[in-house]
């Protein structure tokens, strides 16, 4: 293979390197120069995470052959802060930090480069221009709002409209809970210094590649990898034969082998893996593995899967049923009989890809103590370690999972996938082994949101009361169980919404098919069933000529309500939340119908007009039925906090350390939501010190106490309470010693903001002095621990009754949309999102979660669709799988409601998942309001919108003809 000599100036230094022909600029930067701040998100120029400057021009380094960079001047994100986390950051980087613009951080280096380019080219760029010019950079966490806000702030500082000081000094707080403390992990993200798994290199590390199934369902007749082993540089090939222990894992049912065993059940399933000195050798060896398959009849939809005689995906489940969850309350037949009308509709939701910007990656190795160690961006290392120990047949303390920084999760990194292969390969080769997925691998192999059909019957009385709700939800679970059982449970429990309904009958069914597996995805099934409920309520309100808020007010739960699982709720904030959304959006009351342009509440001050700069063709004011029409819709939601229908727990260790600092150790999983900052704020208030003086230990099963997974909107609720209890435990020990030193009683002491004092006296010390006294004079190290329990109970297997959660949150969103009746395009112009989060810890972080959730909801409502043909992915890249960009996002108005949880020490609840639930139905209801078309199948693509508009026109013409 030919080589090139590249001479370039990179970040101000001359570089001369010989590289292989075909090397991309991104590989040169990351592999040859170790500049791993530049990230690879898609490898196809679609996501922008790899943006760098070449001769001062913003370029996507994954699309540029390095040969073209010969003789150029290249600048990467590292250079902005002088190549170090300790260097002076630019105004753009500081603004990203201040505004909370980075969540998981993986898109951020590219965003920072793109933002820098915008302001270099036009220092006065207006918001619309910023959005337009950053349209090539995808972010999946933030919803873009805080990113654009940050660029505007940097611009204003550069133009001296705002003083430079705003970027450097954080507002002073005495109490940290409730304050928008800047994220403690943002500096590492905005400078590109944080190392994700794919950025890590270990000495002697091998690269792994995976051979994947080309068939949806086939028996493996033989695997011949002898030629693969002949490739120079190849160390080993592994197949199912190399699994030392019990080869079956999964969250609820252990049906998934590490690599296909005997047969493949979906396209893309791992069949074998190769480890070699370099990627090229590993790829070549994968191509040389010969697998003989015997194709089997396959099943690709739930109707076929449940029919008698269908191909069987797993022998243990002859009816292809993963799980059925029933919930029964009252008598639905009596309820329907009592109703003045019964609505019946069927809804269909689509499979959705998480599309975190960081593709799956990991490193496995066996350490000197024989402990098999895997670093990966996993959302649940606690459970992954349990599963790995069984797979490897090792005692649990001989398996260690270390969470590498998670570049976005949203549930997609909760189901284990490739960690077993890494561990086995490391054991077989004795070398560190790294695997980094391509974007295509990530999309086609990782679990999706369950596509679900919901058959709905709702009985409604004349006064608007729901007399009975009956839901039958059927979900495609794909080839493996993954989280399907839990998704079915949450879909069932929350399905009929936060409404007092005397008679309820819910059945959710998850089926096996030969499609890509479905698994955990933000809201865990609740979005699908609640979406249908909220559209049904709009239909009911229209029939009764009620305002959509009114029908929800009539039926909404209040304090003391009995849920569908017959749990009595003490504190229900739902009515407050409804009212807040109504007021916040200045909603014009009126019957739910196609009011559209007749409304008086359109285009208020909180509206952002759609971006006009090139992305959309210019269209003028609506004329007749051609043009754009606007309307508004609303929807509400509820959600349960922490693990569902099972006891939940989390632990933490805390030490008050020298200098008045503290160490907090807990198995927390920062996936971008800002939980580390939340924990630092809680510990600061509890210990009486400042958040910047707190170090939070990494999530490592060998080092930190169990705090379980990032999911179920549980981390603030479970782990912040555990940390608070651990801090109180420390303070008890510490205060006793300090009180003895001062010869006062411990209850006379108070500490805050780095000082401890005796109330109503002049006795006072800094915490640094007090720690020195506690250790040096009293001989006590102030350490403590805490464990928090949420005593949830399981559901009755027959009627589903039980107490699945102790804390519930409620939400309500209003969406304003514009429908282009010529192109079928829908643009969301504004969203007002009111959410009860319990006691708020960090308002900026809560807004970040709401904005990110709303934009994911917008994607699901309007554009995202993971399509498969006979089990083969059609949308396997960001060219076909369409994600919201900065050009699609509306202005999002977050309205935070605090209804503290009475049952937990801190009173905080959560917001991670719930923010997404009401967005989809609010947009779908708004489309009806604007254009008079009712879409029941997601997403509302231009094709579907145009078809619905044609149907509507045809029906109207038909009725006119009939009238004539």
């Amino acid at each position: 293979m030919s080589e090139h000599l590249i001479e370039a100036t990179v970040n101000g230094r001359k570089v001369r390197k010989t590289v292989k022909a075909g090397t991309r600029l991104i590989d040169f930067l990351r592999d040859d120069l170790q500049l791993t701040g530049t990230k690879e998100g898609c490898g196809a120029g679609e996501c922008g995470t790899c943006s760098v400057f070449v001769d001062g021009k913003l370029m996507k380094s994954c699309l540029m052959p390095v040969s073209r960079a010969d003789g150029t001047v290249i600048e990467t994100v590292e250079n902005l802060s002088g190549g170090s986390i300790l260097g002076e950051r630019t105004a753009v980087q500081k603004a990203f930090h201040k505004m909370g613009a980075s969540q998981c951080g993986y898109c951020i280096p590219g965003m920072v480069m793109a933002a820098t380019a915008v302001l270099q080219d036009n220092p006065q760029a207006e918001r619309e221009e910023i959005k337009e010019r950053m349209g090539g950079n995808i972010c999946r966490c933030t919803g873009y709002q805080k990113i654009i806000d940050a660029v505007e702030l940097a611009r204003d500082v550069a133009n001296q409209i705002q003083p430079a000081g705003v970027l450097d000094t954080e507002e002073h707080h005495d109490d940290f809970i409730g304050a928008s403390v800047w994220r403690i992990d943002a500096p590492g993200k905005v400078t590109g210094q944080l190392k994700y798994a794919g950025d890590m290199v270990l000495p002697g590390m091998l690269e792994m590649q995976v051979l994947r199934s080309p068939h949806a369902h086939a028996r493996i007749v033989s695997i011949d990898f002898s030629s693969a082993l002949e490739v120079p540089g190849v160390h080993a090939v592994i197949t199912a034969d190399d699994v030392p222990g019990t080869d079956g894992y999964g969250v609820f049912v252990h049906d998934q082998p590490v690599m296909a065993r005997g047969k493949v059940r979906h396209v893309g399933e791992a069949v074998a893996a190769v480890a070699a000195d370099d990627l090229q050798a590993a790829k070549e060896a994968v191509r040389l593995i010969r697998v003989v398959y015997e194709q089997l009849p396959a099943v690709f939809d739930t109707d076929t899967a449940k029919a008698p005689g269908a191909p069987i995906v797993h022998d243990y489940a002859p009816e292809n049923l993963v799980k059925h969850i029933p919930i029964r309350k009252g008598d639905v037949d009596a309820g329907f009989a009592e109703a003045s009308f019964v609505l019946e509709h069927t809804f269909q939701t689509q499979p959705v890809e998480h599309a975190y910007l960081e593709p799956e990656a990991g490193i496995g190795y066996v350490d000197a103590d024989g402990v098999v160690t895997v670093h990966s961006p996993s959302q649940n290392i606690t459970h992954h370690r349990h599963m790995l120990a069984d797979i490897l047949d090792l005692p649990i303390n001989k398996v260690r999972m270390i969470m590498s920084p998670v570049g976005g999760g949203f549930g997609g990194k909760e189901d284990m996938l490739y960690q077993g292969m890494l561990a086995i390969m490391a054991m077989k080769t004795g070398r560190p082994v790294r695997l980094v997925f391509t974007r295509e691998e990530s999309i086609t192999v990782s679990a999706k949101r369950h596509p679900t059909r919901i058959q709905y019957r709702m009985g409604v009385a004349k006064d608007g009361r729901i007399t009975a709700s009956q839901l039958k939800c059927e979900s495609d679970g794909g080839a493996y169980g993954c989280s399907t059982e839990g998704v079915m449970r949450k879909m069932a429990i929350l399905g009929p919404g936060p409404y007092d309904i005397p008679n309820v009958k819910i059945d959710t069914y998850g089926y096996y098919t030969n499609n890509t597996p479905s698994g955990a995805f933000r809201t865990f099934g609740a979005m699908q069933s609640e979406f249908s409920t909220e559209v049904m309520l709009d239909l009911a309100a229209e029939k009764l000529q009620l305002d959509p808020f009114e029908i929800r007010r009539i039926n909404g739960m209040r304090n003391g309500a009995i849920t569908h699982t017959k749990q009595k709720l003490e504190s229900v904030s739902f009515q407050r939340v409804l009212e807040a959304a109504r007021e916040g959006s200045r909603w014009e009351s009126g019957p739910s119908s196609s009011r559209g342009e007749q409304r008086k509440d359109l285009s208020g001050t909180d509206i952002r007009p759609p971006c006009q700069l090139g992305a959309r063709f210019m269209s003028t004011k609506p004329e007749g039925e051609f043009g754009r029409v606007r309307g508004r819709g609303m929807a509400a939601s509820w959600y349960g906090i922490a693990r569902t229908a099972t006891i939940d727990r989390a632990g933490a260790w805390v030490e008050l350390d020298d200098g008045g600092t503290a160490k907090v150790l807990t198995g927390v999983t920062e996936i971008g939501e800002g939980i580390l900052t939340v924990l630092a704020q809680v510990a600061a208030d509890e210990l009486g010190i400042r958040p910047e003086n707190i170090t939070i230990g990494d999530n490592d099963t060998a080092r930190s106490p169990e705090a379980a997974h990032a999911g179920a909107t549980r981390q603030t609720y479970m782990i912040a309470n555990a940390v608070a209890l651990a801090c109180r435990n420390v303070r008890e020990r510490f205060d006793a010693e300090i009180a003895a030193f001062w010869e006062v009683e411990p209850d006379q002491l108070e500490a805050s903001n780095g000082h401890i004092r005796v109330r109503e006296t002049n006795k006072s010390m800094t915490m640094a002095e007090a720690v020195a006294v506690c250790k040096g004079q009293r001989g006590v190290v102030p350490v403590g621990s805490g464990s928090y329990t949420a005593p949830h109970t399981g559901l009755d297997p027959v009627d589903g009754s039980g107490k699945p959660w102790q804390a519930y949150v409620y939400g309500c969103q209003v969406a304003e949309v514009e429908v282009d009746t010529v192109t079928g395009e829908v643009q969301v112009l504004g969203v007002w999102a009111a959410h009860d989060v319990g006691r708020v810890i960090n308002p900026q972080g809560v807004e970040g979660q709401i904005e990110g959730g709303v934009v994911q909801g917008l994607g699901q409502a309007l554009m995202e669709d993971y399509q498969q043909t006979d089990g083969h992915a059609v949308s396997h890249g960001f060219d076909k799988y369409i994600l919201p960009t900065s050009l699609d996002v509306p202005h999002i108005n977050s309205i935070i409601i605090e209804d503290p949880d009475p049952l937990s020490p801190l009173g905080a609840k959560g917001i991670g998942e719930p923010a997404l639930v009401p967005t989809v139905p609010a947009i779908i209801n708004a489309i009806y309001d604007a254009a008079g078309i009712r879409l029941t199948s997601l997403p509302a693509t231009p094709v579907k919108v145009l078809a619905a508009l044609r149907d509507k026109k045809r029906m109207r013409e038909g009725s006119l003809e009939a009238a004539e």
Partner: protein, 155 residues
Amino acid sequence: MKQIISATINGTSCQDAIDDNLLLIDYLRKNKTLTGTKSGCDGGECGACTVLVNGQPRLSCITLAATCQNAEIETIEGESNNGRLSALQRAFHENLGTQCGFCTPGMIMAASGLLRDNPNPNDGEIRAALAGNLCRCTGYVKIIKSVRAAIGTSS
């Protein structure tokens, strides 16, 4: 000047282009990422870098890699077989022959060379064979005990 070296390392044959002045320890640690061999003094005085060349203990920090043309090289990584400790390694483990562990790879390789030449050494012979290997933790007592324990046990 570069030259091609052909050698067998821990049973695997290798061919690499190396500089004339490359030390064997750097060849093993940097080119082959066999970091079990330690550098303790860079002057042939401590024995931490001991490896076997054609079965004989050699100080890899004062050996040019180029002099190992067609040689059979064994490092500490080659002692254990697929995760199974050798008799010497087991004896060091069971008799507390290792404390901080930094001299241990060299000690084991030196002892391994001894036992091949002399399968049944007396204490004086063990001491003499390990005289070029420094240890600062153990006081040597348990190292000698470990080598003695390994005598006569098969790997």
